[in-house]
Assembly symmetry: C2
Homo-oligomer: 142 residues x 2
Amino acid sequence: MIAFDHHSSPAPEELPSLLEGLRMTKQRREVLSVILAERDHPTANDVFTRSKERMPTISLATVYNCLEALVSHKLVKQVNFERESSRYCPNLSDHCHFQDEKTGTIHDVVFKKGVKLEDFLELPQGTEISHLELSLKGRIGY
Amino acid sequence: MIAFDHHSSPAPEELPSLLEGLRMTKQRREVLSVILAERDHPTANDVFTRSKERMPTISLATVYNCLEALVSHKLVKQVNFERESSRYCPNLSDHCHFQDEKTGTIHDVVFKKGVKLEDFLELPQGTEISHLELSLKGRIGY
DNA sequence: ATCCCGAATTAGAATAATTCCAATTTCCGC
DNA sequence: GCGGAAATTGGAATTATTCTAATTCGGGAT
């Protein structure tokens, strides 16, 4: 459709390394599968609602716990727009997010092939970036 | 010191246009002066504390109101790091933020001269970006 | 298979940042 | 100086998230 929305889930062969040290409980599997099922960047509460359909006993606290476990094991990315509630994203490729102001929809936006931070930022040498989050808002040419 | 921390406040001649339609009450002036006084990216609560020294009757709600007025009139920028509380920044130049994980200190980081979004992002044509926020975390080569 | 123990889950309470509300107060234009 | 719209105020309300303490789960050792 549009150039947004390239998508990449973990290649099957790299899953084991990501799972290292993460006990894959049924709640975590459920939460992960909810996030993998659609790529619409659900909030914790969205995930909670969807998870309950197949696992009615799951609690919101558990959803938060699972999300934090999945994020810290890099199976899922956490996405923030200003002070809105966090959203979760199954696309593990290096990318950032664009929120359509008209609809609220969030689209993945990929970096151009090969660009490095130093190409567009005046970063003092020796700076090690451990985390980067780029969030855009605007309108699409409909 | 380091290449971070370029700083630019509004040029005196463009202030009038920014102030257009903004009633500069004494509370707003106080809040603005607190933010201008240091470039340490204070939170709303920091601003509240500092403002109270010279204006003991100011309320937290007013600080929030003033901040929102100043931000929407582009006299101040709002800075977000994940879900931390918002911080406020007097640097109006196009820039982004780096948080030193060791100290928590936030540094301004400028974009390389002349870079455009399309240079490093795969943006579908026709996309109009109205807001961009890039937040970095990491360590400085001390 | 059973026992043990640390880890995960749960419900609900607690916290923190921010926003809302309704009652003044301020202050600009007449 | 007066009227009215906008701003300020204190406190209550809201919202997302985290914490707590009790319970349950599940994998490894026996």
